[in-house]
Symmetry: C2
Subunit: 234 residues, 2 copies
């Protein structure tokens, strides 16, 4: 379908439209970002957010999912629109408008693979991210800010944690996202009072100390809470 060059003509000039994704993962200790090493110019060899050009038969969200599948092998993940960047000089190839998304994924859902255009994907701790291609530093910062504010009024965890988890693990997730320390006992009280946790009978074992109780999220209550929002001031 794209065989002929110089095929598409318009009365007025048009920008290209692309999507880029800020993908957050949690390994139990740190918040991580998934980056792609660019295999082609511009910015060849530099790290960048996964993304690519919009096709005429897909929405920007579909584009983001497709590019993620192609470049990282991930599919069926939680995706939300972040912001649209349109600075005139943000891409040396010409005028490019980028619709950015952010995604929350369980670490184990993702197998690091090379992409389809000679690129490779890798997790980076949020505080050890190298300088990125294009204006992706800014997109990443906007994504992280959004996540930090979102966690204040919507439950986060289901999308980032394994199905079975402990409250201390959930607390480490909150601390990794917000970059602050919270009181263990108050966190416990707050998260329990939300009434979205289902206890599992067995505890965590073999950790060299008292094992924490295990839980899973009550999906219905979790989604209901997500819809009506909450106030997580911890």
């Amino acid at each position: 379908m794209k065989d002929d060059l110089n095929k598409y003509t318009y009365d007025y000039p048009r920008p290209s439209v692309t999507t880029d994704c800020v993908i957050f993962g949690f390994d139990g200790f740190e918040l991580n970002i998934l980056l792609i090493e660019r295999g082609i110019e511009p910015f060849k060899g530099q790290w960048a957010l996964p993304g690519g050009f919009l096709r005429m038969e897909e929405t920007t969200e579909e584009c983001a999912r497709r590019e993620l599948a192609e470049e990282t092998g991930m599919d069926d993940l939680y995706l939300e629109q972040l912001f649209t960047f349109s600075d005139v000089k943000r891409d040396p190839r010409g005028r490019v408008v980028t619709v950015s998304y952010y995604a929350l994924v369980k670490s184990t859902d993702f197998k690091v693979i090379g992409g389809d255009d000679a690129s490779s994907a890798k997790w980076f701790p949020i505080h050890q991210v190298p300088s990125l291609a294009f204006d992706h530093d800014m997109i990443l910062r906007v994504g992280h800010d959004r996540l930090k504010s979102k966690i204040r009024y919507q439950p986060i965890g289901f999308e980032l944690l394994e199905e079975v988890f402990t409250i201390p693990q959930l607390q480490r997730l909150y601390e990794a996202i917000l970059g602050i320390q919270v009181d263990r006992r108050n966190f416990n009280r707050k998260i329990t009072s939300l009434d979205i946790l289902e206890p599992i009978e067995n505890k965590l074992e073999g950790v060299g100390h008292k094992g924490a109780r295990q839980f899973r999220f009550d999906k219905e209550k979790y989604q209901a809470l997500k819809s009506r929002g909450l106030n997580f001031e911890i």
Copy 2:
């Protein structure tokens, strides 16, 4: 610059990019939306959000401001990006990606004028908006939802009220946005405790009853509160 037709050719097809604006105004009683009556096809004669096509030398935000100035005569207003809509069939003229914005304006800053393309602009109460062109109903709903959630964690009022105002007026603004009734005395306590109001010596007069005290926002404290956020659970 746009004299020749069929001038711009690309290797791959590209969507058009436009901006649309949800403009909120407050007249002291109701929340209003500014709409444009379309003077040309498609949807000629129907009401629509103000907006238009992106030019190559401007960002989407600059585009939104330019279109607003052209179509409604408004400039220098508070503008914030809302959402980007990219459904494949959202515009009968072809593939159009729209970056939407919402704006908060003081009613008196705006003089209703006809636009430059034989269209006319008019305020509509938020609950008496007619069926709109394109997918603008959806954009409007997203804009109103955003405003409702935003008011919960950022001060709103400075952008929508006159410079001098009373607390009951501010309360009516909150009630108009949220669509609920709040207790007068608790609202008073809450808004006063935010420490962003500067009292003016004279009261409101000639209103048939006790006149309310007048205030203005302390700009610095207002902006500081806006940056750090708040929790307005009223």
